[in-house]
Structures are given as C-alpha cells and as structure tokens.
C-alpha cells in the first residue's frame, strides 16, 4: 500500500532523511519510533507529500507521491492524517470539521456528509458533541474528533504523528482505544508513537529511526525480543523505564 524506496531529504545542507526504505502492506500497522529529531515526522509527512523530498521514491496505492504529474490533493484525500496537536479547525463546529472535506473535496452533498459524520462520531463516542466547537472539548475529545475527521474521507490508509503525546495522561487511553479498534478493523496504519503498549498490542512491525536513518525495521516480536541494534536497545530501555 505504502512503498518508501531510498528516500533522502535535505533542509539546505542538513540531511534529515538518509536513504529510508520500508513499506506498509494493506491492513498492516507499522509503528515508527526513535529519539526526538530523528526524522519520524518528516518521513511520515513525505508519505502524503506534505514535505517534499529530493531523492528516492514513495508510492501510495501505486501512485508516485514525488511525481510532478501526480494530483496531490486527490492522493491526500485518500490518506488520512492525525497530528500531535489535533489541528481541528477552531472556527468550525465538530460537525463542520467532519463535513468540510467530504463536501469540498469528495463532492458529497450536505445530507450525505452529515450522515457519514454522525456515524463516525458515534464510533468515537462523541455523537452529542456535534454542535460543540473544538475549543470547548478536552484534548482527548479533540483528538478523537480529529480521527473521525480523517475517517470521514474513507481513507485507504491512516498516518498518525504522535497522536497522544500532547495529551494529559488520563486522556491517552481514550484515544488509543479508538486506534486499537481501527487497527483491528483492518485499517492500514503508519503510526509515529512512543506508546509501546499500543505497539505491543496491535503492531505488525516496528521501525526505529535515528538521525534520519531507519536503523531497525523488524517484526513486532523481534523488535521487543532479543536481537536488535544497540541504539534501539538504549532507546527502548529509556522509554520503557518511564
């Protein structure tokens, strides 16, 4: 579904990504972890073309992201994205946040998009919040709305960039629960996170990044088991002791 082939990216002369290659098959859940500044966000934003890259190739469902002829908005509409800081549109109600993309991008009519929106709000347990504004919701609720907003576009894959790291601890689980359910439903997911409990329960593979490189790309059990790189070991011991 997502194929990342030898991707390199520079900010001026600073190389953020160094020949990264990996792929995410249909229905697979892949976790991306690594220290701060290692390029996790950058890599995931390359997948839907939010960040350009100078070398290599990424395809999503067979469509090349880096190709100038690719209709990026059309491609992005098929890939959902969830951000660390939710990024709901503050001037729109929860319902409008869920319908705007359906109406403006997918061309659905008002009624159809409302029905779809309410279905997804039910799914994340926020049906009665439809007419509230993001500013009146807790962080956990906002992130669940953000997930519903992405799902409203009926994406073929979902990208998550540290979806729980801006949340108060007591709200992390309500968001992870939604993500676990999504994974069990067979959604293709690429998730940047340090929630190793979540990784253990639903991941197929774990990718470890450091200084712009994919240092380790292993099946979940191998990653949490014995043999792995020293850097990954060090990183794991740090975050697991928190």
């Amino acid at each position: 579904m997502i194929e990342i082939d030898n991707v390199s990216k520079w900010y001026l002369d600073f190389q953020v990504l160094k020949g990264c290659s990996t792929n995410v098959a249909k229905g697979e859940v892949v976790i991306v972890c690594g220290p701060s500044g290692s390029g996790k966000s950058t890599l995931i934003k390359c997948v839907n073309g939010l960040e350009p890259f100078q070398k290599g190739n990424i395809t999503v469902d067979g469509i090349s992201v880096g190709d100038v002829k690719t209709n990026l908005p059309k491609l992005r509409a098929r890939v959902g994205m969830v951000f660390q800081h939710f990024e709901l549109f503050p001037h729109m109600s929860v319902l409008q946040n869920l319908t705007i993309g359906q109406i403006k991008v997918l061309g659905r009519d008002e009624e159809e998009s409302r029905v779809r929106a309410f279905k997804l709000l039910d799914r994340v347990g926020l049906h009665e919040f439809a007419d509230k504004f993001p500013g009146n919701l807790s962080g956990g609720q906002q992130q669940r709305v953000a997930i519903a907003r992405a799902l409203a576009m009926d994406p073929i894959a979902m990208l998550f960039d540290e979806p729980t790291s801006a949340l108060d601890p007591e709200m992390i689980n309500e968001v992870l629960d939604v993500m676990v359910a999504l994974a069990k439903d067979g959604m293709t997911m690429m998730v940047v996170t340090h929630e190793m409990g979540f990784a253990r329960s639903v991941a197929n593979r774990v990718i470890f990044m450091d200084r712009g490189e994919i240092v380790e790309d292993a099946k979940k059990d191998d990653f949490f088991g014995k043999p792995r790189s020293e850097r990954a070991q060090l990183f794991l011991s740090k975050i697991l002791h928190h």
Binding site: K45, H85, F86, E87, K104, P134, Q142, R149, M153
Partner: protein
Amino acid sequence: MKYNWNWGIFFEISPDGVHTYLGSLMFGMVWTLATALSAWIIALAVGSVIGVLRTAPNPWLARFANGYVELFRNIPLLVQMFLWYFVLPEVVPSSIGTWLKQLPNASFYTTVFCLGLYTAARVAEQLRAGILSLRSGQRMAGLAMGLTLPQTYRYVLLPMAYRIILPPLTSEFLNIIKNSAVALTIGLMELTAAARSMQEFSFQVFEAFTGATIIYIVINIIVVNGMRILEKRLSVPGYISLGKPAAAH
C-alpha cells in the same frame, strides 16, 4: 485677541446661497464617508490578495507582494496623492492624460484609488501577520484532507486570520477616514475641506473645526462600536488568545 463666538453660524446660509453651513459640513461628511468606504473596499480586496501572496509558497509572487508593501508603505501618503493626481496624467500617453484630467470628480477617484492602494499595503501586512500567527499544522491539516492550497486559505486559514486581525483592521479603517482629509490638497470637498471653507467665509474658525471634530468623533464611535459587535458575533467558542487553542480539561 477679540474673538466673536457665534454658534448660530451653523444655521446661517453659506456662500453657495442654498445650504446652511451645517449643511455644507454634512456634505463634507458624506464625501468623507464615500471616499473612506470606497477606498476601504479596494484596501481590503487588494490587501487580502497581497497579504496571502506574501505567505504563499511561490517565491516570485511573495517577492512581488513584499515589494508592493515596501513601496506603498514607505512613500508618504501626501506624496502618493500628488503623484497620482499631478504626475500620472503627464507621464502616460497624452490622450489618456487628457482623459484623466477631464474626468468629472477626478479628485474623488484619485483619492479613493490612492488611499485604497496605500491602505492595502497596511492591510496586507496585518493579514500576513495574522496568517503566520496560526500554527503551521492548520495549513497541513487542510492540505492533508485533500483541500487544494487556495481552498485551504479560503476555508481554514483566512477565516481565523481575519478574526485575529479584526482589532488592527478597525484601526486601519479609522485611519482611512482620517487620512481621507489629505484629499483636500487636491481639491476634494470632504469634511476637513468643508470646515476650512466655512472658516474662510465666516471667520468662525473655532466653530467650524469644533463642528468637524464632533462629526469625526461621532463617526469614530460608531465604527468602534460596530466593529465590537462584529467581533462578538464572529468570536469562536472556546478559542482564546492568538493561535493557541483553549485548553479545556
């Protein structure tokens, strides 16, 4: 100095033989409002385009927009007025120049145009700051759901940016009303010019300018209160200061 106060002067017939002095001040006010409102429409339209271009990814368009702002902000308004009114008709082909000079209400059109383009530079500066005060994730969220860049501006960035800059936009609108007085230098009979002419014919300088001042103040109060109501109606529930969502726990 002996000064004869005469507040009744407002109700005496002015030299035009038809209207009272109060009436001519009112005409002045109407010209001031017409000038300010028309210029404001240009300022908002041009300023919005320039402001957006300054934050757009295309470096050439951004450079063009930055150049516009630098040019119009750094030349004194009075100089710009003279350039448009006296110099422009001389440097364009003579047929156009003659047409410009013979245009009825030329000083009105010149003022509207000049003031509009001048204020546009200031609006553009405010709008750019407003857009940049939004978290970069907002743009990404819009693009990530498949909106095109123009759609992202239209539905995501601008609605918040305009709300954020409503207070400085109010000041710009008040400025445009005040700045329209510069038009008296090219012969537009707006409020300040009307007060000056009243003083010249009646010698009641204090009354004339007191009258004009009161009218300016009343307009100000109306504008400020109108904008306050607008601000309240457009306020976003739960959204507090600049660019940061309210933390509701």
